[in-house]
């Protein structure tokens, strides 16, 4: 019996650990990659602790403009959805029961329709309307922000309605009657009795609709037209490759969420402690403890902590460390080149052409790898092996793409070799290029037709 219990306990503890690892593992790893100087998000090998990726993130104008657009759209959606949802919930509460289910179905349908359909139908409807009214492309009917707000409201208002409905079910309608009877106008009864009761629901509805608007992609990708929201900008960025600045974004989002959750928890606990009576819990028993766990104190503390981290991060200089890493790579590169040149000399019958990318002093980790595309062409079949498996080459793609060349018979050996410094390889591997793919794609070009990215 006791062994059975022990096994059960081990199993349940193990399961719990696995479950949490499954939930939070990706987040932890991703957060860590934001601080590794490696230009691909990963934690091994750890190169240098750096905060540069946050700078890269912030200097991405497309993303930042998308953020501004998203905020504008979010505010618009909240401003329309919350009153609309409230009106719908009130209508549901007041209507006769026979009509209620029909109205409910009508109001809830947009939630069930795929976002893609909503997005397309929004642009079709407003576009047709605009054209039939003779409006041009500069009018509201073809304004991405306007269309996105309208398109998102169609289903996000239903979310708000559900929240209000849930709260309204707990409202005692005699309170409104009492207010009327005591001389309040219907407007006063609504403002002074019903609205204060709904205040928590208004808060949740505003928060939820803002989040729903912010994270929406399916509908927005159609209705935004030529503009970009944060989400669509992010999606298109990911399509062209990922770098640790996305991890930096994840760190920021996780931090904001955590601060929000902790402050909310402090707020809830305080509420419970106040209802239960102040002396029940140790922390709430004395004035200092109460002050320490007040939600505002907690909030100020966490924001202060975050601000401190940001300040520290802004003044962190990882240049020296990165320089050392670069130096190491450069040395490795030179060693490889020398080795290669030695081999080339040995094989004197072959023409000699130093590749552009393999010029000494090229600090890019990819330079060597991609530069080898040229020389590694069929004439020098021995070369690819050492470059692809070169120790110290940090990019998993560097080797992979570099090796595309030799593996593809159609790649001619000559072109890259015959145009030394101006070739795409050298531009892609320019020092300081933060994208891990910059080099990769640049280098693919010479070998054009064959390798798909």
């Amino acid at each position: 019996m006791s062994t059975g219990n022990a096994t059960g306990r081990v199993f349940s503890v193990g399961y719990t650990l696995l479950f949490f690892a499954f939930l939070f593992g990706p987040l932890l790893i991703m957060s860590a990659t934001a601080f590794n100087s490696s230009s691909f998000p990963r934690i091994t090998p750890w190169e240098c602790f750096t905060t540069d990726w946050f700078g890269v993130l912030i200097s991405n104008t497309r993303l930042m403009q998308g953020l501004v657009t998203s905020i504008i759209i979010g505010v618009g959606v909240v401003a329309i959805s919350v009153p609309l949802g409230l009106a719908g919930a009130l209508a549901l509460a007041e209507i006769t029961p026979s009509l209620r289910s029909a109205l409910y179905t009508v109001l809830i349908t947009p939630v069930l329709i795929p976002g893609v359909v909503l997005g397309i139908s929004t642009i079709v409807f407003w576009g047709d309307l605009g054209r039939s009214l003779g409006g041009g492309f500069s009018t509201l009917f073809f304004n991405g922000i306007f269309l996105t707000v309208i398109g998102q409201v169609t289903f996000i208002a239903a979310y708000a309605m559900l929240i209000f409905s849930a709260r309204l079910q707990r409202f005692d309608p005699t309170l409104t009657e009492a207010a009327l009877d005591l001389g309040a106008t219907p407007g006063q009864a609504f403002r002074k009795i019903l609205l204060p009761f709904l205040r928590p629901a208004i808060g949740s509805a505003a928060f939820l609709t803002l989040l729903a608007s912010f994270e929406n992609y399916n509908t927005t990708v159609f209705t935004i037209l030529a503009d970009n929201t944060f989400t669509t900008a992010l999606a298109s960025k990911v399509r062209y490759g990922t770098d640790p600045s996305l991890s930096a974004l994840a760190v920021i989002i996780i931090a904001v969420t955590l601060i929000g959750a902790i402050v909310h928890e402090a707020y809830t606990r305080r509420g419970e402690a106040l209802v239960a009576g102040p002396a029940k819990s140790g922390l709430y028993a004395n004035r200092l403890g109460r002050l320490a766990v007040h939600p505002l104190t907690v909030f100020a503390l966490l924001v202060g902590l975050a601000g401190f981290a940001v300040y520290g991060g802004m003044h962190h200089e990882s240049g020296a460390c990165q320089g050392r890493i670069m130096e190491g790579k450069r040395a490795e590169q030179e060693r490889l080149i020398e080795e290669q040149q030695r081999r080339m000399k040995e094989n004197a019958a072959r023409p000699q052409a130093p590749a552009a990318g393999s010029a000494p002093g090229n600090p890019s980790p990819f330079g060597g790898a991609f530069g080898n595309v040229g020389p590694a062409a069929p004439p020098a079949p021995a070369a690819p092996a050492p470059s692809g498996s070169a120790p110290g080459n940090p990019s998993p793609f560097g080797g992979a793409f570099g090796n595309v060349g030799p593996a593809t018979p159609s790649v001619p050996a000559a072109p890259p070799a015959s145009m030394p410094p101006a070739g795409p390889a050298s531009s892609g591997s320019a020092p300081g290029n933060p994208s891990p793919f910059g080099g990769a794609f640049g280098n693919v070009a010479p070998g054009a037709p064959a390798p798909p990215p």
Binding site: E177, L182, G183, K192
Partner: protein, 357 residues
């Protein structure tokens, strides 16, 4: 006629085919404590909501202080309603609750607080203004609801079974208190209840309602002692019902031929019966007494003990009877045959068909 009069002028209220209130015609005088008494679903709450303005009568008029209240909303009428669940605003303090009527009338904060404190004095809860509603006991909430209604300075206070949620002791205490407050402020109180005890102890006059119809309007003693319809006789207080046929009537004295023998009673509502009419004789349990030379005899079924009273259940020739007696003495053994008598001037004879006077 004062501003505190309420007149229901042939008020009928229908919900679809259902008649909730049927042709109510009555005048409640200023300063009166008037109760509507009836079982649930008899239309008394509908009538109250009609007076307070939440329901418009289908036919007829409601006049308050001589003025027709048609299309005057509840917030414009000189009435204040105390709800069954009190409907205190849970998010406001006690003082804010009481001052709510003043707030919506644009009275300043200081004046509101002063009035709220005054009213808290009146209901004997001084200093509780800053408490939350949920911190109060049931009886305190009751009084806060009254104070809030009085803050409107209404001419008529309407109370919809406000005591039903309280326990017995508190209910009895609040009866006295309500009556005292009514005397103090001098308003017209219209009180809705299904509890005959409440109606009889507090009211100046009581209207007994059944299925939308007002059966009788009288002072409590008359309602109890001289019911005009079988429903009133049966609903207000306990009673023994003995069926019979009229043998003779002289003045109000009626003699019935019953399974228990010829029994006499007073003709209810001053009716005149013909010989042979099917009638019911109503005798209160406390009017029955065990006497050696009784008017009739019955067999004891069982006796129940209820503190101050003993209820004796009897069988009189197939008619179930009950008798209430005060004091001790040996319990009556089941199966014993006892002779019973009653004061016939305090018993009532009413037609069995249930027709109203």
């Amino acid at each position: 006629m004062t501003t505190r009069d309420v007149r229901l002028d042939h008020v009928t209220i229908r919900f679809g085919a259902h008649i909730a209130v049927d042709n109510a015609l009555l005048t409640i005088e200023g300063g009166e404590f008037f109760s509507f008494l009836g079982p649930s679903g008899c239309g008394k709450t509908t009538l109250l909501r009609c007076v307070s303005g939440f329901i418009e009568p289908t036919e007829g008029r409601v006049l308050i202080g001589g003025k027709d209240m048609a299309r005057v909303g509840p917030n414009k009428r000189p009435t204040a309603l105390i709800f069954q669940n009190l409907a205190l605003f849970p998010l406001m303090s006690v003082a804010d609750n009481i001052a709510f009527p003043l707030e919506v009338r644009g009275v300043g904060r200081k004046e509101r607080r002063r009035r709220a404190d005054e009213l808290l004095e009146l209901i004997a809860l001084p200093g509780l203004g800053d408490k939350k509603v949920y911190e109060l006991s049931g009886g305190q909430r009751q009084r806060v609801a009254i104070a809030r209604a009085l803050a409107v300075e209404p001419d008529i206070l309407l109370l919809d079974e406000p005591l039903s949620a309280l326990d017995l002791k508190l209910r009895q205490h609040m009866r006295t208190e309500l009556r005292a407050i009514q005397k103090q402020v001098g308003l017209t109180f219209i009180y809705i209840t299904h509890d005959q005890g409440e109606a009889l102890t507090m009211s100046d006059r009581v209207a007994v309602m059944n299925a939308g119809v007002i059966e009788q309007i009288d002072d409590p003693v008359t309602i109890y002692e001289r019911p005009k319809t079988p429903f009133v006789a049966g609903f207000v207080g306990e009673t023994n019902t003995i069926a019979g046929k009229v043998m003779s009537q002289s003045g109000l004295d009626v003699v019935l031929d019953t399974p228990l023998g010829p029994l006499s009673g007073m003709a209810g509502g001053g009716r005149h019966f013909s010989v042979g009419d099917a009638c019911l004789l109503f005798v209160r349990p406390e009017q029955l007494s065990v006497q050696a030379a009784g008017a009739f005899s019955a067999t004891v079924v069982k006796e129940e003990f209820e503190g101050n009273l003993r209820h004796v259940f009897l069988d009189g020739a197939g008619t179930p009877l009950r008798l209430s007696r005060v004091g001790g003495g040996a319990p009556l053994a089941p199966g014993t045959s006892i002779a019973l008598s009653y004061d016939h001037t305090r018993s009532t004879v009413l037609p069995a068909s249930g027709a109203r006077a």
